[in-house]
């Protein structure tokens, strides 16, 4: 069985680095070798990079609503921050747009939230010249926290709303950044908890039921939130509520969400006049 609590994960990380505790545990449980697991994870990391490299601003999604945003950010005439932060925003958009335009991405943990992890990891590698091997280690750290979230709550928008998709991805990305930047396992848990707390209650309300609006841009929100929470955790800021309790709260909130806000395309933004017109035009075959 995978890790059922962050507490358990932290305990396993007393003996060896947290990422390695996740790797070892998974190899034991699944009966696969360390080499096989590492080569599989390395392939996922390469695929994340390939998705961003594959970005083409001319592509448009099924509804025509998604495409070209990342390129605009990259060539913005008046950026407020620019640099690393703009790179994070652009990478989140690139993966999200690739996904919406039927290109190849890595579901991490889902296709709709596939932009969050690459959005923080690629610019990090670029800035700190981190070897691929260490980036792969960070993916194990992220997966360890993701496993606990999936076991105690959910990573499915249909079950728990967007907090379960973008929220979970953001929490995993925050932990991965702390792992990369030399933080302690406790700091990873605080980063994970804070990131999830900040997105608690986020609803899944896709326009026309498609993984396009607001999904693509929420990847940006998830990535920026991960960055801020990792920064706080590395500075010694702690989550007042322990990570496991936050995850349990996310589960309760998900259960309280009405169906209309859990990937049915019926409530929230999906119920706006503009969204309803888009859905009608899709049904009529106009777009």
């Amino acid at each position: 069985m995978s890790f059922q609590s962050v507490e358990g994960l932290l305990q396993a990380a007393r003996e060896l680095p947290l990422w390695e505790a996740v790797l070892e545990h998974d190899c034991r449980e699944e009966g696969i070798s360390r080499e096989d697991s590492l080569s599989r994870m390395t392939a996922l990391w390469q695929a994340m990079k390939a998705a961003v490299a594959d970005y083409d601003p001319a592509r448009r999604s099924a509804s025509g609503l998604v495409g070209g945003a990342a390129a605009r950010v990259e060539s913005s005439p008046r950026p407020i921050v620019g640099g690393f932060v703009s790179q994070v925003i652009a990478a989140a958009l690139k993966t999200g747009e690739c996904n919406a335009c039927m290109r190849r991405i890595v579901a991490a943990p889902t296709a709709g939230a596939s932009g969050v992890l690459p959005a923080v990891l690629l610019p990090y590698q670029d800035k700190y010249h981190t070897p691929d091997g260490e980036m792969v280690e960070a993916l194990y750290a992220a997966a360890g926290f993701g496993q606990v979230i999936a076991a105690r709550a959910s990573i499915s928008g249909a079950e728990g709303g967007c907090q379960a998709e973008i929220g979970s991805a953001s929490a995993m990305a925050a932990a991965a950044l702390v792992s990369l930047h030399g933080g302690t396992p406790e700091q990873m848990a605080h980063a994970c908890a804070m990131a999830l707390k900040n997105l608690l209650g986020l609803v899944c309300d896709p326009v026309a039921g498609l993984v396009e609006v607001p999904c693509v841009k929420r990847n940006v929100a998830g990535a920026m939130n991960a960055l801020a929470c990792a920064e706080m955790a590395l500075a010694g800021v702690e989550s007042a509520i322990p990570c496991d309790e936050v995850i349990d709260a996310m589960r309760s909130v998900g259960a309280l969400l009405p169906d209309s806000l859990r990937e049915t395309g019926k409530g929230g933004l999906a119920a706006t006049p503009t969204a309803l017109r888009t859905a009608q035009r899709l049904r009529d075959g106009e777009i």
């Binding site: 069985m1 995978s2 996740v22 790797l23 998974d26 449980e29 699944e30 697991s37 599989r40 994870m41 392939a43 996922l44 695929a47 999604s61 099924a62 509804s63 690739c98 996904n99 919406a100 335009c101 039927m102 290109r103 190849r104 991405i105 890595v106 579901a107 991490a108 943990p109 889902t110 296709a111 709709g112 596939s114 993916l139 194990y140 992220a142 997966a143 360890g144 993701g146 496993q147 999936a150 076991a151 990573i155 499915s156 249909a158 995993m172 026309a208 039921g209 498609l210 993984v211 396009e212 395309g265 899709l282």
Partner: protein, 222 residues
């Protein structure tokens, strides 16, 4: 749950349930037919019907029928690829009672005229469940080697099948029995931990009382 249930799979977007899961349903159908289909009538239920076009569910099912994987970059062009290789595909909406919202019914025909109808649902995260094969109600994921037998309902036939599997070193993971009525046509669905060798499938087909054998190898390219 392995770390790779959280990280991955590599897939063509936009949706693990509506796209990657749909590819898997197409692949399972092709594998159960045991041949490349030349004709496929596909009926889409619920969310598959309502948002399937925008999610590329039609193209994903077709890609699976062509034998592609969920990360095949040719997936968006699968409808034109199907025309090129002589697979004729039609789609229509359907409303099924009590079915999972992401359900597809695929009636496929092989070049030699064999036909098969598969009903399957996409459960999210690219996991799927086959709920019907022809007129038989079933429930299997296709993650394990799966054997579907049609047999006459007679004493000892389950033991004979179990004996053949055991002799081939195949461990039964799950076994489900179905029958229309006492002494009539029955069915067995066996999920196993090991793949079934060709010789075993032949021996099963030759067993007295077994009318048909279908086998799904999850690793097989069909």
């Amino acid at each position: 749950m392995t770390v790779f249930d959280i990280m991955g799979p590599v897939m063509v977007g936009p949706s693990s349930s509506h796209t990657a899961g749909a590819v898997r349903i197409g692949r399972l159908t092709r594998a159960l037919l045991g041949a490349a289909p030349v004709r496929a009538e596909i009926r889409l239920h619920g969310s598959f019907s309502a948002t399937g076009r925008g999610h590329g569910t039609d193209r994903a099912l077709t890609a699976g029928l062509l034998g592609m994987e969920a990360d095949d970059p040719r997936l968006p062009q699968s409808l034109s690829l199907a025309r090129e290789v002589g697979l004729y595909v039609t789609f229509e909406p359907v409303t099924l009672p009590h079915a999972h919202p992401n359900t597809a019914v695929l009636t496929v025909t092989a070049a030699d005229g064999r036909t098969l109808t598969v009903t399957a649902a996409s459960l999210g995260g690219s996991r799927v469940k086959v709920t019907g094969v022809d007129d038989l109600e079933v429930s299997f994921s296709g993650d394990l080697p799966t054997l579907l037998l049609r047999n006459r309902d007679r004493p000892g036939i389950v033991a004979e099948v179990a004996q053949l599997l055991s002799a081939a070193g195949v461990n039964i993971a799950t076994l489900h029995l179905h029958r229309e009525g006492r002494g009539g046509l029955a069915a067995m669905v066996v999920e196993s931990d090991q793949p079934l060798p060709g010789g075993l499938l032949k021996a099963l087909a030759e067993t007295d009382g077994i009318e048909s054998v279908r086998y799904l190898d999850p690793k097989g390219g069909a």
